[in-house]
């Protein structure tokens, strides 16, 4: 596979349902009411729907990487959350290759990824470094 710096990744998109927020609260044993109680979100002035868990947003970034590079091995990923994803939001992850380092048997590929929703740009920005087989 030929990769190029600046090459865009295929978009990855997903509809976030409230039931998934419930799953994440259970898995993390997370007591934060903003994931389960939209009245609490309103009371805090953060919106009118429940707020998705930050790790779930980062999972969407990883899913975009995985769908574009099925044989990837993650080396590192830095994530900055600039906003919130809400229940019923449609998230879209876009990205591009920012650098490629060729080694003898593998490639080290740097990626920039951005998650946005139908209402907010740049909810989450991530820089990832992955290893790929060099075939």
């Amino acid at each position: 596979m030929n990769y190029k710096t600046g090459q865009k990744l295929n978009k990855w998109t997903f509809l976030v349902k409230q039931e998934y927020l419930v799953t994440w609260s259970q898995v993390l044993n997370d007591p934060n009411p903003i994931h389960l109680d939209n009245k609490k979100v309103e009371e805090l002035g953060l919106g009118n729907k429940c707020i998705n868990q930050g790790p779930a947003n980062i999972a969407y970034i990883l899913n975009c990487i995985s769908s574009n590079f099925p044989e990837y091995q993650l080396i590192k990923i830095n994530n900055k959350l600039n906003g919130n994803v809400f229940a019923d939001d449609r998230v879209t992850v876009e990205g591009q290759i920012s650098d490629i380092e060729k080694k003898k048997d593998y490639l080290i590929v740097s990626l920039f990824l951005d998650l946005h929703t139908q209402n907010q740009n740049n909810v989450l920005s991530s820089n990832a470094v992955i290893r790929l087989p060099n075939r």
Binding site: E19, D30, G54
Partner: protein
């Protein structure tokens, strides 16, 4: 006010076992099409963050330890993850961690906040698999 004496506090630690069922649940809830097949031993790598449930405190206990009221709506601000190996299904990992810093800031967007940084490390036997540095935003 947060309990600033907790800086450098080490979490009690715990263990994390990722089975097929929980891996499939996370795949489903995040729209990942990969079901855990018998020949695919890698789990969803977001379990690096789910390991937060295995630090030896529940999140509720963690926030109480910080003297923070969880009803104020804590938020994740930043998260940096290094992987030295992939997380795999049916392996038992050890989870450790410690609080690095607590800083006060006045945010234009959300008012007065405390920024808590802590690190979580995941080991298989004695070999480090991942380390994660969290930055939490805690409204005052």
């Amino acid at each position: 006010m947060l309990n600033v004496d907790v800086i450098n506090h080490e979490f009690p630690g715990g263990s994390l076992l990722i089975n097929h069922k929980i891996n499939d649940l996370i795949n489903l809830s995040t729209g990942n099409n990969k079901n855990s097949e018998t020949n695919n031993i890698d789990s969803h790598q977001i379990f690096s963050m789910i390991a937060l449930n295995s630090i030896g405190y529940t999140l509720d206990e963690f926030f109480k330890y910080l003297n923070f009221d969880v009803n104020k709506g804590p938020m994740l601000g930043q998260c940096d993850i290094n992987f030295y190996n992939s997380l795999q299904i049916d392996k038992k990992y050890n989870v450790k961690g410690r609080i690095i810093s607590i800083d006060y800031k006045k945010s234009k967007k959300i008012g007065e906040i405390d920024i808590v940084k802590f690190i979580v490390e995941i080991f298989f036997k004695k070999t480090k698999v991942t380390n994660i540095e969290y930055t939490l935003i805690l409204p005052r």
